[in-house]
C-alpha cells in the first residue's frame, strides 16, 4: 500500500487541528495552567490531581475521545494523521487530561475485534480509560506484565499507570492460562487499589495499582498480537504531543531571546544562542515529519507502521529533551525559577520522553527490524 502525497492530511484534519489550537488558546492559556497545577512547589509534595474536568467534558462533547473509533462502532473514524494533529495541539497546550490514554485504549480495543465492542461503546458514551501493563522495572513489553489472571481473578501490582485518577476504566494486560489477555475493569471495582505516585511532571498524574483477586472477564485473549497492532499508534501520539510541546518551547524561547537585551543587543543576535535554537527547530521538524509519516502509515501503509512509529518516537523523544534543555538555559536565571512557565513543559517532556520507550529503546527495536536481532 502507498501513502498519499499529503500524508492524507485533508481539509477535515486541518480544521480539527485549527479548532483544537483555538480551543486551548482561548480556554486554557499557559498562565491558567500554571495557576492550576503549580500551586505547591514543595519537592516532597504528594502529587495532587489538578485538572479542569469541565473543559474536559467539552472535549468529550466535541468527540475528541472517539476520533479513532470506527464509525460502525459509534466513533468518528478519523484517520490517525488527523488524531496526530489534534494531539500536537494538546502537547502545545500541555493540557492535563486523560485524552492520550483514552485514545490509546481506543486503538487497542479496536484491534481486539468483537471482544472490544462493548468497551468501545462505553468510551463512545463518555468513559475514559488507561492501559495497565507495566512492571515496577518499567518494562514496555507486554510479556513482562506483573499481573496474573487465574480462574477469572486478577492479582498483582502494575506500575506507571497514566492518568489513573482521571479515568474511570482500566484496560488491563495480564498473564492468563491461555497466554496474555486483556481485561476491561471499572476503576472503582472492589479489590482495585489506586496508589498515586509523587511525580515530577505537574501536568499529569500517575499511579501504581494493586489488584486483589479482582473478578474479571477477558475482552481478548491474544494481547501480544493486539498490542503489536496498536502500539505504533500509541507511540506516534506520544511523539505528536512532544512535537507540539517542543514547538511551544521553541517559540517561547525565541520570543524571550528577541526581547531580552544584554551587551546592548537582543540575546538572539549572538550565534551561541541563535544557532542552537536553529538546531532545536531542525530537530522538531525532523520529528514532526516522522510523526505525520508514521500516522499516515497507520492509515495507509500498515506493513511499515511499526518501524515508522519507532522512528517517530525516538526522534521526538530526543527533540523533546534538546528543546527542554535549551529553553531553560537560554532563559537564564528566570528560566531556573518556579514562577517561569518553562518548567511545566520541561517536566512534561521528560515524562513523555520516557513513556512507552525512550530514544535508545525505540532505536534498539528499529535495529531489530532493519538489521536483524542479535543472537
Amino acid at each position: 500500500m502507498t501513502q498519499p502525497k499529503n500524508f492524507g492530511f485533508g481539509e477535515e484534519a486541518a480544521l480539527l487541528k485549527e479548532s483544537a489550537r483555538k480551543f486551548f488558546g482561548e480556554n486554557f492559556p499557559t498562565d491558567m495552567l500554571h495557576n492550576m497545577v503549580a500551586g505547591d512547589p514543595t519537592p516532597e509534595r504528594m502529587s495532587d490531581c489538578h485538572w479542569n474536568s469541565k473543559l474536559w467534558q467539552q472535549m468529550v462533547d466535541l468527540g475528541w475521545t472517539v476520533l479513532a473509533i470506527p464509525e460502525e462502532q459509534g466513533g468518528v473514524g478519523m484517520p490517525a494523521v488527523a488524531v496526530a494533529g489534534l494531539v500536537e495541539e494538546l502537547g502545545r497546550a500541555a493540557f492535563p487530561c486523560p485524552l492520550l490514554p483514552t485514545l490509546s485504549a481506543t486503538y487497542i480495543l479496536t484491534a481486539c475485534g468483537s471482544g472490544g465492542a462493548a468497551a468501545l461503546e462505553e468510551i463512545a458514551d463518555g468513559s475514559t480509560a488507561t492501559l495497565v501493563m507495566v512492571n515496577q522495572q518499567g518494562s514496555w513489553t507486554c510479556t513482562d506484565t506483573p499481573l496474573v489472571e487465574t480462574e477469572g481473578k486478577l492479582s498483582g501490582t502494575a506500575w506507571y499507570v497514566q492518568e489513573a485518577r482521571k479515568v474511570d476504566r482500566l484496560l488491563v494486560c495480564a498473564r492468563s492460562d491461555v497466554g496474555y489477555s486483556l481485561y476491561w475493569v471499572d476503576s472503582d471495582t472492589k479489590g482495585v487499589t489506586i496508589s498515586p505516585d509523587a511525580i515530577v511532571d505537574l501536568t499529569r498524574d500517575q499511579a501504581h495499582i494493586h489488584f486483589d483477586q479482582v473478578q474479571v472477564t477477558p475482552v481478548n485473549s491474544n494481547a501480544m498480537a493486539v498490542l503489536e497492532e496498536a502500539f505504533p499508534a500509541i507511540w506516534t501520539l506520544y511523539a505528536a504531543d512532544m512535537v507540539g510541546a517542543a514547538e511551544w518551547q521553541l517559540q517561547t524561547t525565541v520570543e524571550y531571546v528577541n526581547a531580552r537585551q544584554q551587551f546592548d543587543k537582543p540575546l538572539g543576535f549572538f550565534q551561541a544562542v541563535k544557532h542552537p535554537l536553529v538546531n532545536v527547530m531542525v530537530e522538531i521538524d525532523e520529528a514532526k515529519s516522522l510523526v505525520y509519516n508514521a500516522a499516515c502509515a497507520i492509515d495507509s501503509e500498515p506493513e511499515k507502521a511499526r518501524q515508522y512509529a519507532h522512528m517517530a518516537k525516538a526522534s521526538a523523544s530526543d527533540a523533546a529533551a534538546f528543546a527542554s534543555n535549551r529553553s531553560v538555559q537560554f532563559h537564564g536565571g528566570i528560566g531556573f525559577t518556579w514562577e517561569c512557565f518553562l518548567h511545566l513543559y520541561f517536566k512534561r517532556q521528560k515524562h513523555s520522553q520516557i513513556l512507552w520507550g525512550d530514544g535508545p529503546w525505540h532505536r534498539a527495536k528499529l535495529a531489530d527490524v532493519l538489521l536483524g536481532e542479535v543472537a
Binding site: 500500500m1 502507498t2 501513502q3 498519499p4 502525497k5 499529503n6 500524508f7 492530511f9 484534519a13 486541518a14 487541528k17 514547538e247 521553541l250 525565541v254 531571546v257 528577541n258 543587543k265 537582543p266 538572539g268 543576535f269 549572538f270 550565534q271 544562542v273 541563535k274 544557532h275 535554537l277 536553529v278 538546531n279 527547530m281 531542525v282 521538524d285 525532523e286 520529528a287 514532526k288 515529519s289 516522522l290 505525520y292 509519516n293 501503509e301 515508522y308 522512528m311 525516538a314 526522534s315 535508545p360 532505536r363 534498539a364 528499529l366 535495529a367 532493519l370 538489521l371 536483524g372 542479535v374
Partner: protein, 411 residues
Amino acid sequence: MSESDRKDTSEQADFRQHARDWLVANPVAEPGERLPQTPLEIMTEGQLGYLQAWQKAAYDAGLVGCDYPEEVGGGGRKDCQRVANEEMMRAKTPFMPNVIGLGMAAPTVFYHGQEALKQRLLPRLFSGEDIWCQGFSEPGAGSDLASVQTFAERKGEKWVINGHKVWTSLAHFAEWMIILLRTDKSHKYEGLSYFVVPIRAELGNSVTVRPLIKITGETGFNEVIFDNLEIDDSYRLDELGKGWQVAMTTLLHERGAGELVTPRSGGLKSKSSHANNTSSLIELARNTVRNGATAAQDPLLRDRIMQMVIREKAFEFSQRRSRVPALQDHPMRLPLQNKLIMSEIAQENASLALDVEGAGATLYLGDENAPAGGQWPLSYLNSFGFTIAAGTSEVQRNILGERVLGMAKSK
C-alpha cells in the same frame, strides 16, 4: 514503494511513462575510467566527455529542463522535472556534469536575463554542451559575500573586468561563468551587478584559470584571475546595482529552496561510484567484523546507525511535508533547511562509516585492501566541501535564525 509512486497528475503520469520507457530502451554504458563521487571533482577530459554525452542524450529525450518554456529550449511542462529526476534516480543513471549550470545559472538567467540571452544560452546549458561555472567567492569575500571586490569598469557599451575569484568549480572546463561584480565602490550592496561572462575564449589571455587541490587530493575547483577582460553590456543580468538580488535567486536554487527544480540524475550506476547513504552504511556494517561479530551486531554502532537512518528518513518525509501547507509553520522553514541538513547528514553518515570500518578506515583509494575501495574516507573528506560551499553551515544557521525565527541579524 517509493516517493515516485505517490499520485501523479495526468501530465506527470504520461511523462513518467515516457521517461521510464526511454531509460529502459537507452541504458547508459559503463565509463572507461573511475568517476569521481560528484561532478565537482571531474578531473579529466575522458570523465567529462562520458558525462556530457549522457547529459546530451537525456536532454534530447526531454528529461532535462522539463519545466522551462520551449522558447528557451525547455520542455514546456508543469512540475515534471521532479518526475524525471525520480525516474533517473530509479534507473541509476550517472550524474550530469553541468551541475552549476543546471542548478544555479539556468534559473538565474531565466528569471533575470533578457529574452535573446535566454534563447541563446539555455539550450546549450541544458544539453551540457556548454559547461558553466560560478564566480562568487573571492579571497577576501567568503561568508561575507557582498564584500566582493572584483571590479567591472564601464567603457562605452563594454565593461572591463579585473580581479580574483576563488573556489570556482568546473572553471577549467567552463565556457561561461555567472559572476557577481562590483560596479560601484561606494555602496556595499547596491554597488554589485550580475553578469554572465564567456571565459573559454579568453583563457591564457585576459582570463587565467589555476586549479586548486582539495584535501581529498582531487582537483575540480580553481582560482580565476581577470586581467582586463572586456565584455559586452548585453551580458548583464537585470539592472545595474541589482546584483545582490540576482545573487539571491542563484543562492536560493543552489540551496534547494528555489522555485525551479534542478535536473538531477543518480550517479550510482558505475561500480566504481559510491553512494553515501544509510543503505551503503548498513551494507558496510553487515560486512565488517569487529570483536568477533559484525559491526551490525555491535549495540553501540546499531544505535548510531539507527540515528542516521532516522535522520535520513526524516529528511525524505520533510520534502513531502514541505508541499503540505497545513503542516507547516512558515513557508520557508523547511526549504531553507535543505542544504544544511543534506550536507550534515552526508558528513555524519561518512564519519560513522569510518567508525564502522575501524582499522580499515586507514586505507585510501590507492590501497587494494581498502574496504569499499577507499571510498568512505574520500566521502568524509569530501563532505566538507558541502558543509562549506554555498554558504557554510554557520551562514545557513544565521539565515534560518533570522529569516524563519526572526532573531536579530548577526552582521
